[in-house]
């Protein structure tokens, strides 16, 4: 009986599923069907609905064989016996319940099973109904997996049509692709992608893939983070983990208790322990402008295998030791950095940092893409002149060690991540590398930087983050919170001198000084051609006013990464001011263009994030035409609070109208309504100022003193409330 069933299944499989082989003829034609036989140089191929055809091998370039996957023998929904699909398809919800949704996830399973300490299997299955056209994209899926340590298999991918038919993915729409094969030491990740067949509005797609990961250990750790809650409705989401009863697995539940928490179930059976979270949200959420990451808002589960820090240290030390550069290559490299005895330690470190960034191309594969904390041997980096952040920082570490400067390799996550290695003993929770360097007993940090950023600049995403550093000598790790500093790093200063002519034209000299992330943007100019720089400057002044004409521009030495990055522009703006009459001249302050787009919501549902802490300052000096005086605003624009400060003033002083402002953001997350309202108020103040027009009125009085005596000033007392 069993044999008969198997025969029937195999026969059905032959009929329905394998008609997706593709035979490619040498002359360019291609035929879809089923490969029947190859014998003595003759090929028999059954063309779909057209019977068998014969070809000689010399006519055929190649034949693509389509794999038969689980369930490919079934061609209609009524025949489905697999319990999950069957159950769901028999109890489909009314799509009108989700009127604004693009698709609804009917079922999602993330099933993690630890087979042993170093081996695990993750099975992912999704059953999704497409409700609107934008939802069709769900029918194209990609998964990434590690080339060396992981096997990835698509178990099946079916489409259930509204008419009751079942369709299956075919291998002409499946691709298993390599990333970075030109730099093989870093080609650790592959992409598996597929496009499901016959997906219409109303169709249901059902796919499942399995990843088997081996070699999991202290420095190739694994963790899983699952956030429950998304834009589209989810009717059943299940996160499951099974592990041997004697094995320790930690779970972290964030944003818990929540309004709609997943239901947690725990079970022990047959020497195995399992945890399960089941979640449902038939509504989905509406994203908000600048909201915090989902993982900070909705219920989240993080699973990981804890390790002993001492063991992690010992393995990591061994890995770094194994990766360390050969003496000769390292000495050659240091020699190329041209260090001299009269340099300070900081200058030497700068030089090495700059040499690495100049000579070694970063291939852009971070630890998550490599799947390991073992650095690629530094000799590869030195010889092939490419590396990733970790190998470049390891090179910096060894080079500094060689010249007697102490440094500690470190690891961290984005500053907004709250589940960190500080509280959890695994490296699986960090995804970035950095280095702590001790120079003259002072700590200096770098994430590797770039050819456009100075040594010791900490990028915005790491400012204030918690980092874990490895002290290999003492076999331990220590954690630190990285500095967060506005006045030094994220800073922009502008000075503009504007001479207003009697006809409303303006002669402008502008000087812009960048520090921090803005700095990289301007330093990139060093790489482009002179004519392109000219074009950049011309376009830049056109951004101030469409009629602006560039006279000249200049840049500070952009190769000196420790020096200021300054751009100067000299330009004219014909008829910049509007002559409302022969006695009234008016214009907006073209250099003040704050807008309040980021504070569009009167109230928020979700907490807000700001890009970073920062400080910006600008001074604009208008030289007024003879006998024209500023018509006062009689308003002050300022906002002072612990999180945000904006101060401005404008004042006529003889022939000069002087405007100055300063904005400081000391916080980059606004978690409460009060904090957001404070942000909004500050932005409102700034945008209102930006909308303000400057009006100059021609006075019959020859002297200006009279105007001054009228109190033509609106200077705010900026000292009040400031830090």
């Amino acid at each position: 009986m069993k044999k008969l069933a198997l025969t029937i299944i195999l026969t059905l499989a032959t009929i329905f599923a394998v008609n997706a082989d593709v035979l490619y003829l040498n002359e360019g034609e291609e035929i879809v069907g089923h490969l029947k036989a190859i014998e003595k140089g003759n090929i028999t191929f059954e063309e779909l609905n057209k019977g068998s055809r014969n070809f000689t091998e010399s006519e055929v370039a190649h034949i693509l064989i389509s794999k038969i996957r689980k369930g490919d023998e079934i061609d209609n929904i009524a025949s489905i016996t697999e319990p999950v699909a069957e159950g769901i398809l028999k109890n489909l919800p009314d799509p009108s319940l989700f009127k604004d949704a693009d698709y609804v996830t009917l079922y999602r399973l993330n099933d993690l099973e630890y087979l042993s300490d170093d081996k695990l299997v993750v099975k992912t299955r999704e059953i999704v109904q497409i409700l609107k056209e934008p939802g069709l994209d769900v029918a194209n899926q990609s998964f990434y997996y590690y080339t060396e340590r992981e096997k990835c298999d698509l178990e099946f991918a079916h489409t259930y049509s509204p008419e009751g038919q079942v369709y299956h993915v075919t291998d002409d729409a499946v691709s298993d692709e390599s990333l970075l094969s030109g730099t093989p030491e870093f080609a650790r990740l592959k992409k598996f992608k597929m496009a499901l067949k016959k997906v219409d509005i109303g169709s249901i797609i059902d796919y499942c893939f399995v990843r088997e990961l081996s070699g999991v250990d202290e420095i190739q750790p694994f963790s899983m983070s699952n956030t429950f809650g998304e834009r589209e409705p989810v009717l059943h989401e299940e996160l499951s983990v099974t592990f041997p009863a004697g094995m320790q697995i930690n779970k972290v539940q964030m944003q818990w208790p929540a309004e709609n928490p997943p239901k947690f179930l725990e079970k022990s059976q047959g020497g195995k322990k399992s945890w399960k979270w089941i979640f449902s949200d038939p509504k989905g959420f509406i994203p908000e402008q600048n909201m915090l990451p989902r993982s900070r808002i909705f219920p989240r589960v993080v699973l990981y295998q804890p390790y002993d820090w001492a063991k992690i240290s010992s393995k990591l030390a061994a890995a770094y030791d194994e990766a360390k550069p050969s003496d000769k290559l390292l000495a050659d490299f240091i020699a190329r950095a041209k260090l001299t005895d009269n340099m300070t330690s900081f200058q030497k470190a700068c030089k090495i940092y700059e040499s690495i960034n100049r000579d070694i191309r970063d291939v852009g594969m971070g630890i998550p893409q490599m799947g390991s904390f073992k650095p690629v041997p530094i000799d590869v980096t030195l010889q092939k002149k490419y590396g990733n952040t970790q190998s470049n920082l390891a090179l910096l570490h060894f080079a500094l060690k060689k010249i007697g400067i102490k440094s500690y390799p470190g690891f961290c996550s984005d500053r907004r991540e709250l589940v960190t290695a500080k509280d959890h003993s695994t490296l699986a929770l960090v995804d970035s590398t950095l280095l702590k360097i001790i120079i003259d007993d002072q700590p200096v940090y770098t994430d590797g930087g770039s050819i456009y950023l100075p040594f010791s600049f900490i990028p915005v995403y790491l400012q204030g983050t918690t980092a874990t550093f490895h002290d290999a000598e003492n076999g331990k790790f220590f954690t630190e919170t990285l500095p967060r500093q506005t006045s030094e790093w994220n800073r922009f200063d502008r000075t503009v001198m504007v001479k207003i002519l009697a006809n409303g034209s303006m002669d402008v000299q502008e000087s812009l000084l960048y520090r921090g992330p803005y700095e990289a943007g301007i330093r990139e100019l060093k790489s482009i051609k002179e004519k392109e720089k000219q074009n950049y400057a011309e376009r830049r002044v056109k951004g101030v006013h469409p009629r602006a004409v560039l006279q000249s521009f200049g840049l500070s030495d952009m190769n000196d990464l420790n020096g200021p990055a300054v751009l100067t522009l000299k330009y004219t703006i014909p008829e910049a001011a509007q002559m409302a009459s022969d006695k009234i001249m008016t214009f907006t302050n073209y250099w003040v263009n704050y807008d309040s787009g980021s504070a569009s919501l009167a109230t928020r549902t979700y907490p807000m994030q700001y890009w970073g802490t920062e400080e910006n300052q600008q001074t604009i000096v208008f030289e007024l035409p003879e006998n024209f005086d500023w018509v006062t605003w009689n308003k002050q624009y300022q906002h002072v609070s612990p999180d945000l400060t904006f101060m401005s003033n404008i004042n006529q002083n003889d022939r000069q109208l002087i405007y100055a402002d300063r904005f400081i953001a000391r916080a980059d997350e606004f978690l409460s309504d009060a904090a957001y309202q404070n942000y909004r108020q500050c932005i409102l103040t700034m945008s209102e100022l930006a909308n303000q027009w400057i009006i100059l009125e021609k006075s019959d009085k020859p002297k200006l003193e009279a105007a001054r005596a009228d109190g033509a000033t609106a200077t705010a007392d900026i000292s009040k409330g400031s830090d």
């Binding site: 490619y24 370039a61 064989i65 609107k132 016959k198 787009g597 018509v631 906002h639 108020q681 945008s687």
Partner: protein, 723 residues
């Protein structure tokens, strides 16, 4: 010099005599590994293979591909002779002096294309570039795409010459062949050969040479190619050599070449004719905004065995006919779709919409047929996915069923340069549908998912369509600006305190409508409202949104319309007794005229029109002090008119701007720039109101209540000002 020339020619002649070798078949297994086999048989889902004296059996599930044409990649040692390399360093340094701002310099490149008597093709390319700046280090990484069932790529050498004369050679084992990665909707049979030239740093010369042998061409008479001589890096010398056997004609065209360079040097060799084009000392191309694609501005040579398209059309026509089959399934679907349609236009519109919306974009390429012609109409209908060729074929086939003559036709989209039509080469990158109806021809593009019938994608406009089935070529017209229009009306009520109430409505057609539909359909109603809030709040955060709605973006029976109504509290700037009012979103800027001078034409995607109609009700307590003057601009490239008309307490503004042409020649740039700057300047002009002296300001215009915030600040508005 003579010696170098002789050596080069000898190398080229040797290269012409290379012969083919190969195996019986190459089997790709499901894990991606390959096996070369001497013979094979296939029966009952089992593959029997024999290699030497060893035989094995592989089940169908373990096979991915059987290739009868793939040749084993030669594992021979690569050339290490670098005798000629040192001579390039002085030349590189000389060029660097001339172009000191270049990131890299293409010192020399040479492309050799050989069509052999047996119909196979061989090409060899050598590139020698100088790395002047760190930003060019990526040039060490080389990736070459090829079809393993038809082509064989062999790296002849890849090396780096250090400034000190040291040469580092690439080793064969450092060359990797894998399936490269592409976007999630693209599937093909190509492989990627990649490597990184070792030890490349600034000041080095990177020299590599590879050969591609097309041992299994689709057609022994299809030999064609192209070569571009200028890039964003300066070029020292660029050589193209093409050889064909005696008795075969080579047709070629040269674009943007100096007259003396456009004709090749022709040499009669023993068994072939060699054509050589050589160019030297080409400056880098400096990018400009809205410039034409590179290939339209740099010197280029295209060549083919065929002067006209007859041969190619004859080759492809049977493939078209095979796919252009009106099967029962297609007929049934068409009948279902057109049911109840009132006229032929509505039927066409429904079929167009079906192919646009319900055939998901997935591109599966494998052979000449799918590359150039696509898949059979019925397959696309069944799969519910396809690319431009598949959609074009399906729509044409469906239209046939309702008696409308239509064809899939090839175009080169206007953002990719002009298609070469002077000789026969495959130069199209897109497929659309050509409809012949009532004596006129028009075009539809089913890949454009948001265009309402009869509009189609703007990058198809002003191209030349190649109709293989008819053997004809027709101009795809540039629609008039009225077919890509945005019409905006605003009713504005301005209050004495500057508060501005706005009712906004817009309608669109053509590409503009498609763009609005695309953004609207991807947003849920609440998200759309949030977007509008973000946009309005960029004007001022102190606003009230009363309405933000649009018609259904998925309803293609009616024109898309959007409406909003909002109040901007105290929006108009007041300064003393003056009030300045600017219509929101009225300013225009034109980045394409940001440069003082241009070298290249301005090229738009298509024509366009925008009209604005604004009615402003003024507050009773204010007089109009200044209304901006009317402006009219009329040129072949831009038509503009703005009129301000005051009638009592109402100001009416009408504005129209149209760009009737797609290309503005550089010769007319200054005039065009002047016109656009005038227009931009006019758009910045404000309305200036003055408070009537006798009337007090309405006391209802109190300041917006401040939110209860943590802030100590607010916009200070002295009480006394209103009195």
């Amino acid at each position: 010099m003579k010696k170098t020339l002789t050596t080069t020619l000898m190398c080229f002649l040797c290269f012409l005599t290379l012969a083919n070798t190969g195996n019986s078949a190459v089997i790709t297994l499901s894990d991606g590994s390959t096996r070369d086999v001497d013979s094979l048989g296939y029966q009952d889902d089992k593959l029997l293979i024999q290699t030497g004296s060893t035989s094995a059996e592989i089940m169908r599930d373990g096979i991915k591909n059987i290739s009868f044409s793939a040749r084993q990649q030669n594992k021979e040692e690569m050339a290490t002779d670098s005798a000629d390399l040192a001579a390039f360093m002085p030349k590189a340094l000389e060029l660097q002096k001339k172009y000191p701002d270049a990131q890299s310099i293409l010192v020399s490149e040479e492309g050799n294309f050989q069509h052999r008597a047996d119909g196979t093709n061989l090409s060899r390319y050598r590139s020698i570039s100088y790395i002047a700046k760190e930003e060019a280090l990526w040039e060490a990484e080389v990736s070459l795409s090829f079809d393993p069932n038809r082509e064989r790529v062999r790296v002849l050498h890849a090396r780096c010459l250090q400034p000190d004369g040291t040469v580092h050679n690439l080793k064969p084992e450092q060359i990797k062949i894998s399936k490269g990665t592409s976007g999630s909707v693209y599937f093909d049979q190509y492989q990627e050969l990649s490597f990184t030239v070792p030890e490349v740093s600034t000041g080095c010369i990177v020299d590599y040479c590879y050969e591609t042998e097309e041992y299994n061409p689709f057609d022994p008479n299809l030999f064609q190619g192209r070569n571009y001589f200028q890039w964003s890096a300066p070029v020292g010398e660029s050589i193209l050599r093409v050889s064909v056997p005696h008795g075969k004609d080579l047709h070629f065209v040269a674009y943007n070449c100096p007259p003396e360079m456009s004709k090749p040097e022709k040499i009669d060799a023993v068994d072939s004719v060699i054509y050589t084009w050589k160019m030297a000392d080409l400056p880098p191309v400096i990018s400009e905004p809205a410039m034409p694609p590179y290939r339209d501005i740099v010197p280029a040579v295209y060549f083919s065995l065929h002067k006209d398209f007859t041969y190619v059309h004859n080759k492809l026509k049977p493939m078209f006919e095979k796919r252009f089959q009106l099967t029962d399934l297609v007929k049934k679907k068409v009948d279902e779709l057109i049911e109840g349609a009132k006229d032929l236009n509505e039927k066409i519109a429904r079929l167009y919409l079906f192919c646009q919306k319900e055939i998901r974009y997935i591109s599966i390429k494998g052979n000449l047929a799918s590359n150039q012609v696509g898949h059979p109409a019925e397959d696309t209908l069944k799969n519910r996915y396809g690319d431009c060729t598949d959609k074009g074929m399906l729509l044409a086939t469906m239209l046939k069923h309702i008696g409308v003559e239509a064809y899939p036709v090839g175009v080169r989209t206007n953002d990719s340069g002009k298609a070469v039509r002077d000789i026969s080469i495959f130069d199209d990158n897109h497929c659309i549908t050509e409809v012949h109806l009532d004596g006129r021809i028009f075009y539809l593009d089913s890949t454009a998912t948001d265009y309402r019938y009869p509009y189609f994608r703007s990058d198809d406009h002003d191209t030349i369509a190649d109709n293989t089935m008819l053997g004809s070529r027709n101009q795809v017209p540039l629609p008039p600006p009225e077919d890509n229009a945005v019409h905006i009306t605003r009713e504005i009520e301005l209050q004495a305190d500057g508060t501005t109430k706005i009712r906004f409505a817009s309608t669109q057609n053509g590409s503009s409508e498609a763009s609005f539909r695309a953004s609207a359909r991807n947003l849920k109603p609440e998200e759309y409202e949030k977007e509008i809030r973000e946009s309005v709040s960029a004007l001022t955060a102190d606003y009230v949104l009363e309405l933000a709605t649009h018609t259904d973006p998925l309803d293609f029976d009616t024109q898309f319309k959007a409406q909003s109504a909002y109040t901007l509290n105290r929006f108009a700037t007041k300064s003393g007794r003056y009030m300045i009012f600017s219509v929101p979103y009225f300013e225009m800027s034109f980045s394409e005229v940001s440069l003082e001078k241009r070298r290249y034409n301005i090229q738009y995607s298509t024509s366009r029109l925008r009209t604005d109609s604004v009615e402003i009700k003024l507050p009773a307590s204010y007089n109009v002090k200044f209304l901006p003057p009317a402006l009219r601009v009329q040129s072949p490239y831009v038509e503009f008119e703005i009129i301000y008309d005051q009638q009592g307490d109402t100001i009416n503004i009408t504005r129209k701007i149209a760009f009737p042409r797609r290309v503005v020649p550089v010769a007319d740039y200054q005039a065009f720039k002047g016109d656009l700057e005038k227009i931009a300047h006019a758009s910045k002009q404000k309305i200036f109101l003055e408070e009537k002296p006798s009337e007090p300001i309405s006391s209802t215009a109190s300041a917006t209540p401040q939110a209860d915030s943590a802030s100590s600040s607010q916009t200070v508005e002295p009480e006394g000002e209103r009195e």
